[in-house]
Symmetry: C2
Subunit: 201 residues, 2 copies
């Protein structure tokens, strides 16, 4: 990726169902448009908590949750993706998000992120489970033990906290979200528009 | 409209900004696909109230509200529509919704609905104002006084109440919503998909 390509920031939360839809297609869409993607994992929990929610709005508002599942089933079906809501929803995404911060430094954030979403939303795995994450890391040719040790260090924990704070400060209230400079786009439905916006500069 | 065309139910709330986007294009999209539209005005207020909200989520969650305005500005711009949030939001839509029930019986619900949304979201008018609604009715060649008298009758008031109850019972939690049988689609982003679903039967 050359640094002079226009840039799209992709803000996602590992427990977010609609983020799965974008995770699986953002790289090809952006590549076709000549746009570079900056992967920005963050945590929605603190942002939801700040607006008085203690869980996903899809749990708080059951009609909305029921529609979300059916909506993603229809879209995933059209795109040839498997989708099923895991037994526990939303999952605790803290460990996966910290690993993704390491992946950002070591340039494996994109394949790692796709692997985590597929495990969770296609195969029903529990992504808060250390063994699940170890297997995903190993599957990517990485050494799980030192990678999992790395996320216990304060700098990684702090960076995820700061990234979550930055999301909130820049107006992000849900996931997936896309930023081109200060221009905010929310939802997988806006991915094409966000890519086009980045391209046009 | 022949009765053997596939049918799409269009559920909308007059104060809803995203409903504006669908109101202005649903008839042409459906006509091209050979699909008949059943216009179903209802009130979101009681549905929001039942889930603990006393106003629009766009007011309750300011970051979401800020994004909504910008999002609709971008989409309306692409579609050649004017859009500005009226000074008071959300507006009281009760009178407009009752008039639309009368319009359903007398076959002017579609042009009336478009006129109300344009007045509100293109021209900033207050659609709870009786004078505004009188002018819109007159502009459609209708006689405002008897039409406004009609909505004071109990059967019209009851039908709007029942229609709102039906929306809630059938899983509707926001607007615009589209129903093809029991298949629910939420949001202007799903209009094409809902029309295609109706067409395929």
């Amino acid at each position: 990726m050359s640094s002079d390509r226009p840039k799209l920031e992709f803000w996602y939360e590992f427990a977010s169902t609609y983020s799965y839809l974008s995770v699986m297609r953002i790289e090809t869409l952006a590549a076709k448009a000549g746009v570079a993607v900056a992967w920005k994992p963050f945590l929605l929990g603190p942002i939801f908590h700040a607006q008085g929610w203690d869980t996903s709005p899809f749990n708080l508002y059951p009609a909305k949750g029921k529609h979300m599942v059916r909506d993603i089933e229809r879209i995933a079906g059209d795109r040839g993706l498997r989708f099923a809501l895991p037994a526990k929803f939303p999952q605790n995404s803290l460990t996966a998000a910290r690993l993704a911060i390491v992946g950002t430094d070591e340039d494996w954030v994109a394949p790692f992120t796709r692997a985590v979403y597929l495990a969770q939303f296609a195969d029903g795995a529990d992504i808060s489970n250390r063994g699940v994450l170890e297997a995903l890391l190993a599957g990517l040719g990485l050494d799980p033990a030192p990678t999992l040790a790395r996320i216990e260090q304060a700098d990684i924990k702090d960076r995820l906290k700061r990234q979550t704070g930055e999301a909130q400060a820049r107006g992000i209230f849900g996931a997936p979200s896309f930023l081109v400079g200060d221009e905010l786009f929310w939802g997988d439905d806006r991915l094409e528009q966000a890519v086009a916006w980045a391209k046009q500069g």
